[in-house]
């Protein structure tokens, strides 16, 4: 027999961007502990649909912790209580019978709520559009082995590149800063030879866009690193700050 628990959910419900929101309580019994958190929400929603009520809106797609669609603040933690775990990978076995679980959307000025747990994260796309790329045209690339990349650098670049763009770093930061997200992309390219020609202009443009989007400053709380489901390190922020300083000096 599968082990089950009962939990009380308090879920942020908000009809649209302009309506006021509030926490609504749902009592959930006989939840199989092998169920994922989102599967538990599916069950809540099926119950609501059968009653003709609007189900809880939440973003999700891969349910494997890689697309970065999902994410809510669960009992005060972005993506819930388990380290290096997206909400879709969190399982109900991490909760106890009788727990009260408060589920809220990411809160940040730059991520306005659209409905219930769904927020607008398009600011991240605009930051990438500002400079988060290497300007190579299709077809113009040299043979891949013409430029070897030291393995340590390739590995560090990969560590940074693992960011899934979910926005947990912003949600966890007391200043709603996007430094971890931006620095991960800046670092990935800064560590690779292919990223060098645009290294300076890239960091300047991305940081400018980040500021324009209304993200806050970094004041070294490191909550972002703790919340990051991919374990992206704050050392990327230090690298970005160095690059930003250098770039600022040379372009001034």
């Amino acid at each position: 027999m599968a082990k089950t628990i009962s939990v009380t959910l308090k879920v942020w419900r908000q009809k649209d961007a302009h309506a006021p929101g509030r926490l609504v309580t749902y009592q959930m019994n006989n939840i199989d502990i092998d169920m994922s958190f989102l599967e538990m929400l599916d069950i809540v929603n099926q119950g609501l649909e059968l009653k003709g009520e609007d189900p809880i809106a939440f973003d999700h797609d891969c349910r494997e912790g890689i697309c970065g669609s999902c994410g809510s603040v669960v009992n005060g933690h972005a993506h819930g209580p388990e380290a290096e775990t997206t909400l879709c990978q969190l399982h109900m076995r991490r909760f106890k019978n009788g727990d009260v679980i408060v589920i809220e959307p990411w809160r940040a000025e730059a991520f306005p709520v659209i409905k219930d747990l769904v927020v607008d994260r398009s600011a991240f796309d605009r930051i990438i559009a500002a400079g988060g790329f290497i300007s190579v045209r299709t077809g113009s690339a040299p043979e891949a082995h013409s430029v070897p990349v030291p393995k340590e650098n390739a590995d560090l670049a990969m560590d940074a590149a693992q960011c899934i763009g979910c926005g947990a770093c912003v949600a966890a930061c007391p200043n709603a800063s996007a430094m971890l997200f931006v620095s991960a992309k800046v670092s990935q390219f800064a560590l690779l030879p292919q990223g060098q020609p645009e290294r300076r202009s890239r960091v300047l443009k991305m940081v400018t866009q980040m500021d324009n989007e209304g993200f806050g400053n970094c004041s070294n709380h490191y909550e972002c690193e703790a919340a990051c489901p991919k374990g992206i390190s704050v050392s990327n922020i230090a690298r970005m700050n160095r690059d930003y300083l250098c770039a600022g000096l040379t372009s001034a």
């Binding site: 099926q46 994260r121 077809g139 393995k151 990969m158």
Partner: protein
């Protein structure tokens, strides 16, 4: 009627270069006068959008996620094939071509596959230049691993996140073009119809998922890169949003659907564990490089795996297929897993699982090496199953994974509907009846970066396109039809949820049209599907309104399409009475239980023409001719 694939003449290895030269060009100043719609931002759609915009076309790009970076390609794990030959192990364009044709059980079009193998090498160059952090050796040069169906090491990878890194590369190129004002991006849009005017694809109707508003978008050509339909089975390794809607609605407007019965069941997935389950999780094929698959020799052996001694284990793939061992192609590995479980030797609480064991490789190379290669996969397994795979073998079972079938396209990746081009998993072209691991990423990027930029130019330069606007009656009619469907769904107010219907359909397909299929079961499915569909339209509940974010409505529309599409899939499976690749008809097998083709009657692509929901589709055949490879019974022994 026989379909013409427009394969260029000349020797195989010169077809593409000759064709490139012979195709018409659009001069640079004229390119910006053409608008191209690209639906989809996975590897195929993102690479196509970026490349077309770089050439100067005006591109409008759509996806249903909130960001193009979240397309399902992001989830691909294991790697991407390319015939670089860096390992000095005998690889070549010709070998990759041959492996792909053979892996597909001789049911793909030779010329397309040859081109794919040729272009594979450019993909790696392109991605490296974009900053994709592929795995490297201490020399600083690129590392490779092996995948199923190949005896060489030609798979490039970025840990267990290859799809993520390739997609982020293509996404960054796409966003660069957004900044350059070549691409207009439309995220959170669902394409609901294709607009065909005077026989040519001229635009789409889509729903803005945030406001619910229907939008009309006009173009000179439409590119669909909307991914595969594996979610028709409900439980699959695909992301939850993957759907057949865009392809199906294009099909209803006249595009032929090819080989829908070719679905891939992946051998190494985490087994099903409860009826609340919403999806299945893949454990990458790359694990078969170092993991050994086995079951106990004795039926009903319930001892913990580590207590079962070596001589009482049956490493059945190594035993039956000594040449390829654990790296046989997916269809073969899946069928064998089913067979041992059906014979009562499966493991785990349901008996529907086999072991994938890393004990020997951890002993050989150490835990650190295994962790570096597969760390994220092991962690994912641990999170879901709550067991540590470094200490205890993984339990795995086959699951629906990929759609080889898709909209029919010719050599130029254009469907039978002029102006409608189809790329990536959404088309049918390159993988025959079984796709080899690490070849989908290759195909998506070849289509998007290197094929469509040429072939679409040829179409635009050689076609007379009249001026049409969004006020054209065909746009109005298509929009009205989409609105009517939404209204209908919202007004049924029945007693069963959308997911409930989807599960019922999925289970039926898995049982009757899954890893093994037979005449009786397929006919039974053809009786049941229309009944489920009818009940859906009378008894489904879809809450909320039309003009707002309504995820319930989004799912309902997709399931409605799956309920129509499923019938065509099963019908195709019924009519193809041979076995080939992933399509295994129990009536057609060799004495050893391998898939037995019937080349006399089925050496063709089956492309279906829509005749109305619930009506039998009309078959069009594209004969498959093999000039380069000799048709043979596949053997991996």
């Amino acid at each position: 009627m026989s379909l013409d694939a427009n394969v260029p003449s000349g020797p195989m290895s010169e077809k593409w270069s000759r064709h490139q030269f012979e195709m018409k060009l659009v001069n640079p100043a004229n390119k910006r006068k053409f608008t191209v719609i690209v639906v989809g931002t996975g590897l195929a759609g993102a690479s196509a959008s970026a490349s077309l915009s770089e050439l100067g076309y005006k591109v409008k790009t759509f996806c249903f996620q909130d960001s193009p970076r979240r397309a399902h390609s992001i989830a691909a794990q294991g790697g991407i094939n390319a015939a670089k030959g860096y390992q000095n192990d005998g690889d070549s364009v010709r070998r990759l071509f041959y492996d792909t044709i053979k892996g597909g059980d001789f049911r793909s079009r030779e010329a397309n596959v040859y081109r794919l193998a040729e272009l594979s090498v450019n993909i790696i160059d392109q991605c490296v230049a974009q900053g994709v952090p592929f795995a490297r050796e201490y020399s600083g040069l690129l590392d490779n691993r092996s995948f199923g169906g190949a005896q060489v090491s030609r798979t490039f990878y970025a840990r267990g996140q290859t799809g993520q890194q390739l997609l982020l590369g293509a996404y960054s190129a796409l966003m660069k073009e957004v900044t350059n004002k070549g691409v207009e991006l439309y995220p959170r849009r669902e394409m609901l119809d294709l607009v065909v005017i005077n026989g040519k694809a001229r635009g789409i109707i889509c729903r803005n998922l945030l406001t619910g508003k229907l939008e009309r978008h006009v173009a000179d050509a439409v590119v669909l890169a909307t991914g595969g339909y594996a979610n028709v089975f409900y439980l699959s390794t695909n992301a939850k949003g993957c759907n057949v809607t865009a392809s199906w609605r294009a099909h209803k407007r006249g595009a032929y659907f090819a080989n829908p019965c070719y679905t891939q069941i992946h051998p190494t997935c985490i087994p099903v564990h409860g009826d609340y389950q919403s999806k299945l999780t893949l454990m990458s094929e790359s694990l078969r490089n170092d993991g050994r698959i086995w079951v106990p020799k004795k039926k009903g052996d319930v001892r913990p795996p580590n207590e079962i001694p070596e001589e009482e284990r049956d490493y059945y793939l190594e035993r039956k297929y000594p040449a390829f061992g654990n790296l046989v192609p997916r269809d073969v590995a899946s069928r064998n897993a089913k067979e041992v479980c059906d014979s009562g030797r499966g493991v785990g609480s349901t008996g529907m699982a086999v072991y994938l064991d890393f004990r020997d490789s951890i002993k050989r190379v150490g835990k650190a090496v295994i962790e570096e290669k597969y760390g994220n996969l092991f962690q994912m397994y641990d999170k879901i199953v709550d067991q540590n795979p470094y200490e205890r073998p993984m339990m795995i079972f086959p699951a629906v994974h990929y759609a080889m079938g898709g909209l029919w396209v010719d050599y130029n990746l254009m469907s039978n509907l002029p102006g409608l081009h189809v790329l990536g998993e959404a088309n049918f072209s390159d993988h025959g009846a079984n796709r080899l691991g690490a070849s989908a990423l290759m195909q998506g990027l070849a289509d998007g970066y290197f094929v469509i930029p040429y072939t679409i130019g040829h179409y635009l330069a050689s076609t007379k396109l009249e001026t049409v606007g969004a006020a054209h009656p065909e746009f109005a009619a298509a929009e009205a039809q989409a609105a009517e469907m939404t209204n209908k769904l919202l007004n049924i107010k029945g007693k069963r949820t959308v997911d409930d219907f989807h599960r019922e359909l999925g289970l039926l397909l898995w049982n009757k049209c899954g890893m093994a299929r037979n005449d009786k079961g397929l006919k039974e499915a053809l009786r049941q599907i229309p009944a489920i569909r009818e009940e859906f339209w009378e008894n489904v509940t879809v809450t909320g309104g039309a003009e707002t974010l309504n995820q319930n409505l989004e799912r309902a529309g997709r399931v409605a399409d799956f309920l129509e599409f499923a019938e065509t899939l099963v019908y195709d499976a019924l009519k193809r009475t041979e076995s080939c690749g992933g399509h295994f008809r129990e009536e057609s097998q060799t004495p050893e239980g391998e898939a037995l083709r019937d080349d006399k009657n089925f050496c063709h692509v089956a492309a279906w023409e829509f005749k109305g929901a619930g009506k039998k589709p009309t078959l069009h055949k594209e004969p498959l001719e093999f000039e380069e490879v000799h048709l043979a019974q596949r053997s991996y022994k």
